[in-house]
């Protein structure tokens, strides 16, 4: 799975959690929570979905690394264990 594919998957997850927003319009450096107005509750749902989709276990202290589409992408490539991520490594 390349960077673009991961990004598409992340956007899909965001869209599922916040259907009335437009995550596809986010730039790689914008703060996802601020732009989409995602509260701590929906953010936790997003982390849960991310962990499930990419086979990760994101500890709370890593939340700071999951602020933008760009940083989420880097994190997923580093920590994701799902076969679809692995094959790229």
């Amino acid at each position: 799975m390349n960077e673009q594919e991961i990004k598409q998957q992340v956007i899909q997850l965001l869209k599922k959690i916040a259907p009335d927003t437009e995550p596809e319009k986010l730039t790689d450096t914008e703060n996802v929570r601020e732009v989409l107005m995602i509260d701590s509750f929906d953010y936790l749902r997003f982390i849960v979905a991310l962990d499930e989709r990419f086979g990760m276990q994101t500890p709370e202290e890593d939340y700071g690394q999951l602020k933008t589409l760009g940083s989420i992408n880097v994190y997923v490539q580093k920590k994701g264990t799902h076969p679809s991520v692995k094959e790229q490594k």
Partner: protein
């Protein structure tokens, strides 16, 4: 028609999910009602058998209108009445002994045949023919209404805002508010939570707002005068049902209830909150979500203001607000340090309590937040 909050004056029955003769159990969803807050599932409050449906689909009726007769398991007819707007907490069932004589239905043979073929309940139809006889046109109308799709009906942010605004105007007009605020050091709570979450997978983690809600629920046990409604005087409530303010991304708020909040442990509270917030945001609330709240809590969460001075949701007598938890300079025991701090506020009804009761309550909230292991 149940009162689903002080802001509701009437509702439109969109769909019956039961028909006469059906057995119902407490908690079953028997109807869908459209309000200014969207489509709400209506639950039944006792076990029995549906005797008669009195309101037809797409009929708009005021709060308090009897919608159906249910024969309770004990054999009497219980009337599914719903509360008057001023008495939303006394709602549910009024048990009245009534004879259950069926009304003889006047209906033309053609209409009867059509009704039977299309599964239309003629008991619930109002005839427009001679002497109230049900005509073919009435049945056709009923079939058309049945087929009308209900999905896609959702309350607009404007209508939700207007409903809330009406309740808040009433609140400001009728309730003599007083306000208190207390800054609370959250370091113990957050440390405790960090430890709790450390070895948990993300889906089992607990958010700080759960501790805030738990602390409020516990403090209400210490100061029950704030867990109450004002209806011809103060009526303190036994159950602690916290109305939790959920902001909709499209605008407007909904206030579903976290029922029996004082009896839930931290995990149960997180579960109840997750379930309720998701359903609120998907506009899939049930009648029990929107009735019987005994106090309201609003937590602004991350990236927000430091404090909120709320407007009480009538007929409740108090609203508790929490701002964002932020790092603040904190002086204690002659030392200055940096602590995560939350500003807890209380808006309360001066007819019901005064500042000393309110202060006592906020101090209790602080006590619990500083001893999270007791929550």
């Amino acid at each position: 028609m149940p009162s689903l909050g002080a802001d509701m004056e009437d509702g439109t029955l969109r769909e019956w999910l039961v028909k006469p003769g059906d057995d119902v159990r407490r908690g079953d969803i028997i109807a869908v009602v459209e309000t200014q807050k969207g489509l709400i599932d209506i639950e039944v409050f006792n076990n029995g058998k549906i005797d008669k449906l009195l309101v037809t689909e797409d009929q708009k009726v005021p709060v308090g209108t009897v919608m159906a007769l249910i024969i309770a398991d004990a054999g009497v007819v219980s009337r599914e009445i719903k509360s008057h707007p001023d008495a939303p907490n006394s709602h549910a069932i009024d048990l009245t002994k009534e004879s259950t004589q069926k009304r003889r239905i006047k209906i033309s043979p053609l209409a009867r045949k059509m009704a039977a073929e299309n599964n239309v309940d003629t008991e619930s139809l109002k005839g427009s023919g001679e002497g109230g006889a049900i005509t073919r046109a009435d049945v056709e109308q009923a079939i058309a209404n049945k087929e009308k799709p209900h999905s896609g009906i959702s309350a607009s942010p404007d209508s939700i805002r207007m409903a809330v605004a009406a309740a808040m105007s009433r609140s400001n007009r009728e309730i003599p508010h007083y306000y208190l605020e207390l800054r609370i050091d959250m370091s113990r709570s957050l440390d405790w939570l960090k430890e709790l979450n450390k070895n948990r997978t993300s889906e089992k983690r607990v958010l700080p707002v759960v501790l805030l809600l738990k602390a409020v629920a516990r403090a209400l046990r210490d100061v029950p005068q704030l867990n109450a409604v004002w209806e011809n005087g103060l009526q303190v409530k036994e159950d602690v049902n916290i109305g939790f303010v959920v902001a909709l991304r499209t605008g407007g708020i909904l206030i579903p209830a976290i029922r029996n909040a004082d009896t839930k442990n931290v995990e149960e509270m997180m579960q109840a909150l997750s379930d309720t917030i998701v359903r609120a945001r998907e506009m899939k609330l049930r009648s029990s979500d929107l009735s019987d709240s005994t106090i309201t809590v609003t937590s602004l969460g991350d990236n927000s203001a430091e404090s909120v001075l709320g407007v009480i949701y009538p007929p409740q007598v108090a609203l508790v607000g929490f701002g964002e938890i932020t790092e603040q300079p904190w002086a204690e025991n002659g030392m200055l340090g940096i602590r995560p701090v939350v500003v807890a506020t209380l808006a309360a009804d001066h007819r019901a309590t005064d500042g000393s009761t309110g202060s006592h309550f906020l101090a209790a909230v602080r006590k619990y937040l500083q001893h999270p292991e007791t929550l």
